[in-house]
């Protein structure tokens, strides 16, 4: 046991150092998303490359482990925690109202992608694989399913890095990717059901498969509804701890619980984690939870991506390279067209549709889960597992630059569908004689809000805008030069007026106290005189 733990510590150390250096190299020098660097670092140090080289008496640092996952269960466990952290933060960073507003569009996009990809993937297997003759053949079914899942992890990381998570395209991609994963897992349970029966030479029991599918969809729907309604009450209770740290830690605990329950219900763990994040995203402490969870994520998430990279068995890919490339291209096309085309019909322009198509390209954790189950059940061989990994890899390498590139430029949403400006908002303005006075009062206003139990945080991408939030009350505080603005809903206007008035009364008192202060230049002179007095005494 001690030996395994020692190896784990060494492995984690190497992974962290390598992913961080490689991530830095990719993002700073190659202008690519960090995640690519982390994946590549995993491939390089993993069991199929450098990791297999024996290091004296220690042996190889990453000895290949038999089975579908070539790393130790301990390391895979840490990687799983990383994937849960990743999806929990993705959920936290999703703007729930926008998510719900776009969930209809996302369903169309997600379903389009799944159906189109599945048919293309299964079709090309029937066409090119000599031993597969029907779309109902287990191998065709599995390869079709492999095409359907989108790696929400990779996409979320790229969208997060480029601050596009809450854009209409970003939310649609994430919502569609989540739905994709749900549909893929449901599809997987159906495909596994059919395969088992087929491999045994029997007939298909559709009722059993239906139960599995209904359970998965039911869990998803129930968790979403309960989560969205329960999270605000839960955080309200947790405020009793008077510690944001404790709140963030308990919230992550809940994410882990939901992840486990999700797996129990037959869905992937990452789906439970995402639902937990999404539920907390609408609470007034979401920013504080996100900040704390993200800090922990910086240590664990690279491990997840590195382990994904480590799964690539270069020798298995070699024998099916030709088919793998064709299959990957087909999988690309399936998502680009299958998701992009429906996007055009739900309000996006060509640019938006392309963004959504590219956002849905990355394959990842669910692809591997599907392929792994296929391999374990005997439905696909190591060669087709290699194809699945190759598809995941090529998509994951090609999609990030494409996605980053696609997000350059203007809105991808058709103008007439853009949200109208909210009319029930009120702006209160204060003007001061100088910027310094305005900044002083701005700080006092923030403090006044805090003493009323509000959370104040700097708004993303801005140095002079703050979001102030408590439960359903939300305000925006802005300072531009000598002017301060507070924007809020009309029904909260009286509160803001009173709060500003109290702050100004305090400010007045401060100004009066300054007037009664001894001349500051005399104080300064006193300081200098004292300095020379000390020097004189040291001279003598």
């Amino acid at each position: 046991m001690a030996h395994e733990m020692m190896i784990l510590a060494l492995q984690l150390g190497v992974i962290l150092v390598m992913t961080k250096i490689s991530g830095w190299l990719f993002s700073r020098k190659l202008h690519q998303p960090k995640v690519l660097g982390e994946l590549v670092a995993g491939m390089v140090v993993g069991p199929y490359l450098l990791g297999a080289i024996p290091l004296g008496s220690l042996g190889p640092l990453f000895p290949p482990v038999a089975g579908t996952i070539p790393v130790s269960p301990e390391l895979y466990g840490i990687a799983t925690v990383g994937s849960i952290l990743l999806l929990f933060t993705s959920g936290l960073e999703t703007d729930l109202p926008t998510f719900l507003r776009f969930s209809g569009k996302a369903s169309v996009v997600g379903l389009g992608g799944v159906i189109f990809s599945f048919l293309l993937g299964a079709g090309i297997t029937v066409l090119l694989h000599p031993s597969v003759h029907s779309i109902m053949d287990p191998e065709a079914l599995f390869l079709g399913t492999i095409c359907t899942a989108t790696s929400i992890g990779i996409t979320a990381r790229i969208l997060g890095e480029s601050k596009k998570i809450s854009s209409p395209e970003g939310v649609t991609i994430l919502a569609a990717a989540v739905l994709d994963d749900v549909i893929s897992i449901v599809l997987l349970s159906v495909v596994v059901g059919i395969s088992i029966v087929k491999l045994d030479g029997g007939s298909i029991a559709w009722s059993g498969i239906g139960v599995v599918a209904a359970k998965a969809v039911g869990f998803w729907a129930i968790c979403m509804i309960v989560g969205i309604f329960a999270a605000p009450h839960l955080t309200k209770r947790m405020k009793g701890f008077e510690s944001l740290g404790v709140m963030a830690e308990i919230s992550f605990g809940i994410a882990l619980l939901l992840a486990g329950l999700s797996e129990m219900a037959g869905l992937a763990m990452i789906i439970g984690a995402y639902i937990a994040g999404l539920s907390f995203s609408q609470t007034d402490v979401s920013a504080e939870i996100t900040e704390r969870v993200k800090a922990v994520g910086e240590y664990f998430i690279p491990v997840f991506f590195a382990v994904m990279g480590m799964m690539v068995d270069f020798s298995a890919v070699g024998s099916v390279l030709g088919f793998g490339i064709i299959f990957s291209v087909i999988a690309f096309a399936g998502k680009l067209v299958g998701c992009g085309l429906p996007a055009l019909f739900v309000g996006f322009n060509l640019k938006g549709a392309f963004r959504i198509g590219s956002g849905m390209l990355p394959r990842g954790e669910v692809t591997l889960i599907v392929a792994g189950i296929g391999l374990a059940s005997g439905a696909i061989g190591p060669d087709m597992f290699g194809v699945a990994v190759m598809t995941m890899l090529l998509a994951s390498i090609a999609a990030p630059p494409l996605l980053v590139q696609s997000f350059k430029g203007g809105s991808g949403y058709r103008k007439q569908l853009e949200e109208p400006v909210q009319s029930h908002m009120v702006t209160l303005e204060l003007e001061f004689p100088s910027e310094r006075a305005a900044e002083f009062v701005r700080r006092s206003i923030s403090d006044a809000f805090r003493s009323e139990g509000f959370f104040v945080r700097t708004m993303e991408g801005s140095v002079r805008s703050w979001q102030i939030r408590k439960e359903e009350m939300v305000f925006v505080l802005r300072r531009s030069a000598e002017r301060i603005e507070v924007i809020g809903r009309q029904e909260h206007e009286a509160f803001v007026r009173l709060l500003l008035m109290e702050t100004l009364v305090d400010f007045q008192e401060f100004v009066d106290s300054l007037k009664s202060m001894e001349q500051p230049e005399m104080m300064g002179a006193g300081l200098l005189l004292n300095m020379f007095a000390k020097q004189q005494s040291s001279d003598s």
Binding site: A448, R450, S451, E452, G453, H492, A494, F495, R497, L498, L499, M501, E502, V505, Q508, E509
Partner: protein
């Protein structure tokens, strides 16, 4: 913030006797002392008068909201007094003040103190509500205006 959890009939008077700012504030404080809501009357009186000196809390349409932060309370306390004839409270609109809502909140304690003040003010922002309040004969009538 529930107005109901802060206000009760014992904290309301419909017939203030004084006709000066100092007198009304003193009378309202006496109510809080009688209900054992505050410990040090003099300290609170000084805090309230200090606040009045900085800027009168007599706002508009006969409503005044004398308030202060003080160590004499550990949680928000409030009381209401009515003087239908009105008195000079140095109100911002120059009109005599008739409805007095006093709130005291603790120093260095996070809580919806201004929010409570805002919620109470919102109830009496219509002329109809203010008229109903001034016609109140008992504490119960006053509370009914606040929906209690």
């Amino acid at each position: 913030m529930k107005i109901k959890s802060i206000l009760s009939p014992e904290l309301i008077t419909t017939s203030l006797k004084s006709s000066t700012k100092e007198g009304v504030i003193g009378e309202l404080l006496d109510i809080l002392v009688a209900q054992k809501k505050i410990k040090n009357r003099d300290e609170v009186y000084t805090a309230l008068m200090d606040r009045e000196r900085k800027m009168s809390t007599g706002i508009q349409h006969g409503v005044a909201i004398p308030h202060a932060k003080t160590r004499a309370v550990t949680q928000l306390v409030a009381c209401i007094g009515l003087k239908p004839e009105g008195i000079d409270f140095d109100a911002l609109d120059g009109e005599p003040s008739k409805i007095f809502i006093m709130t005291l909140s603790p120093i260095d304690r996070v809580g919806p103190h201004v929010q409570f003040l805002a919620e109470v003010s919102m109830v009496i922002q219509t002329q109809e509500a203010r008229e109903r309040l001034l016609l109140a004969k008992s504490a119960k009538d006053v509370l009914s205006v606040f929906g209690i």
